[in-house]
Symmetry: C2
Subunit: 427 residues, 2 copies
């Protein structure tokens, strides 16, 4: 039985598109059909022009195969600039705003033959005030934030790939709540030009898809690679369990997933000894919160000063808090973060990666986007993280864990994730 | 005898503006008069609307004193977004482009009461193809790049303060060629949101003025400080001479300034022993060039793909070179840079700062912007640098050196610079 095109993995579609077995028009049409069916309920899209999407597809079908993503439709978080579509950054201040250029990551994606299907809903400036999007698994619940529309669209098979970005937990948390794969690369890997800047030392471009192969393909293409990434395992990995300082906040669903993963690792003989968290890690959660607030208040200075009445109450308050943090305290926070980054390697011991909670538990109700508590510290450390969806919680919503690797060793992490995910699902 | 307003230091004007001894209209009028006289020859401004500048001044004069920069006119490098003026980034691709928001640094400056006098000429995307600006000291010569208009406008007393930015040597080199003070803060200090992104790990917002007090005031205000920076010396500094790996490229003028500075330091008893350069520093010049080319080709992906015919030949070639550097080589370069940053403290020995060349020598002819060779490595290391103008070369054009401090210790560096500059001038 053949899967409908909109349900297939990107990596499979990419092969069929490159061999001209499929046309971009076929794939885009299948995605648009799914969107037409489901968008009324899910509301993942901030901007979508089916004619423009189909015109891009026909142009790709007429030309040569351009690269790794030839003919693949991509959802673009509305925090990313696009020259052919509006970018609102989730704020009424930017209603109808049309950027002059594509974000670097969007342009690099197009260079590899991808087509931008539309813009997906983000929370207000990628912070905590929810947009309209609903969790496709249960419409009363949040898809998570801030990459809400991207996660919902991928989970609902409206598009195989979507851009996300993380300043606290905005790649990993929506991936967890929607039950898909989310990949936040090592800090400094993916070019951020043209993504609305919130925090220079935290903002990270990330990738959402329904398989490890797919996020690996997506990331490789955006980095300008020209051959498919090889995810065959380089020997059995060593993986340690890392509950983190925030463990007391994990609920029973996350604890159950954690225990189950530990059993799988032990049974397959890859469980490394868990290490105590390095001393410089204590207090990092608070440092990340303060750095983020300090930076937001400054990066959004124009919006804060010129459009105070068009910010949500929650964001207005966060920016006021940020302005109250003085330069000396900020410097001390940055110093703490730098010390922890320098000590990050000691977290791993003889392990190649650690498994840690991705979120407190299942997706909460739509009035909020869920607590980013389990993403903040990894973002501050700049380590690569991949959310692995492999379980369901008490009410049947998705639950999983994130695999965290050493800085810069993203290929090894992707390989381990590809090895581990099917075992966790079977476990 | 009273100095004309356009010639006075910002710090002096700021006091008189805060006490309402002077009005912003007085100061802006004096600057506009100077510009009217000289702009035909110097060509420092990409955009200037005198009526808009005066309207801003009158508004400030009517309201309360807003902050440290109340009523002070600022020149804004045309790489920075401004909501009330165009931003062309030095490229015909963006002719007439009007950004939706102010850059964070511009907005933070306005919050402190500054007014944006106009946009100053930048080279094409802050790289190496010169704009129209001439060196005010000799019109046949370059003002340096990429902050060409900012440096020329400050040097020619058209404006007391101007924004600059540095990816290779674009703060320090124009400051050197124009004989003014240029301050590149520690990497990560000044928010970059809304400055056209070229390289995430190199781009640094910087400040140009005619005194150390003035760059210190400017930087403090943009960081949200509310009291004047205290530059009184904290004891006698220890300063070492650092010729750098690039010394063979320094010409006789730079060598003479270097020798004279060494004598001054020795005579005043603050000369620390010069240390050999740490091993991880070798090869950094080449690493910086490659990282910059790699990043430019990606950050400017939209312009490269959509407007190839509107890039200069030089930039087109640089972007092609950047696309040829593969991800593994880039990763190795970043690794080298990280190791050197970690070893940067060992450069100083028992010294608090080092003195190093700022440029090869005097400003060359206008067909180029001069070699950034003496800026690249410090930018890659992220260390704070201040250009000290204190000498003239064989043909009478400005020459000086840069004082380089430890990462994050910008206040100490500014204090040392304030102590040292008058001594070097007298020496």
């Amino acid at each position: 039985m053949t899967q409908p095109l909109n349900v297939r993995e990107a990596i499979q579609l990419a092969r069929q598109l490159a061999s001209r077995e499929l046309t971009a028009t076929d794939v885009v049409s299948a995605c648009l059909e799914r969107i037409a069916e489901r968008e009324g309920e899910v509301q993942a899209w901030e901007f979508l022009d089916p004619d423009h999407a189909l015109a891009q597809a026909r142009e790709l079908d007429r030309g040569p195969v351009r690269g790794l993503l030839h003919g693949l439709p991509v959802g673009v978080k509305d925090l990313f600039d696009t020259a052919d579509m509006p970018a609102t950054y989730g704020s009424p201040i930017y209603a109808g705003h049309r950027p002059a250029a594509d974000a670097a990551s969007v342009a690099l994606c197009r260079e590899q033959g991808a087509l931008m299907l539309g813009k997906t809903v983000t929370t207000e400036f990628a912070t905590f005030t929810p947009g309209k999007t609903r969790n496709p698994h249960r419409l009363t619940q949040t898809p998570g934030g801030s990459s809400s529309g991207s996660a919902a669209a991928v989970a609902d098979c409206m598009v195989p790939l979507a851009f996300a970005s993380q300043t606290a937990a905005s790649v990993i948390r929506p991936a967890a709540f929607c039950g898909i794969v989310g990949y936040k690369p090592s800090f400094g890997t993916i070019h951020r030009a043209g993504v609305k800047a919130l925090s220079d030392c935290l903002d990270t471009v990330g990738f959402l898809a329904r398989s490890i192969d797919d996020v690996a393909l997506f990331a490789a293409a955006v980095q300008g690679e020209r051959v498919l990434p090889d995810l065959s395992p380089a020997g059995a990995p060593r993986i340690a369990m890392c509950p983190t300082h925030e463990w007391p906040q994990a609920d029973d669903d996350t604890r159950a997933a954690f225990a189950r993963a530990e059993q799988v690792l032990a049974r397959t003989g890859v469980l490394a000894a868990a290490l105590p968290l390095p001393t410089p890690f204590s207090g990092l959660l608070q440092a990340q919160k303060e750095i983020m607030a300090f930076d937001l208040a400054r990066s959004l200075a124009h919006e804060r000063l010129r459009h105070p009445g068009r910010l949500s109450e929650g964001l207005g308050q966060l920016l006021r808090q940020g302005m109250e943090i003085d330069v000396d305290r900020h410097r001390a926070n940055l110093h703490k973060a730098a010390a922890a980054r320098a000590a990050a390697d000691s977290l791993f011991g003889d392990a190649d990666a650690v498994l840690a909670p991705s979120a407190i538990g299942e997706a909460p109700a739509r009035e909020q986007t869920g607590d980013p508590v389990f993403g903040r510290v990894w973002t501050l450390l700049g380590l690569p993280c991949i959310h692995l969806p492999f379980a369901t919680g008490r009410t049947g919503l998705p639950v999983g864990l994130q695999l965290v690797g050493r800085h810069g060793d993203d290929r090894a992490l992707l390989r381990m994730a590809a090895w581990l995910l099917p075992r966790l699902k079977d476990g």
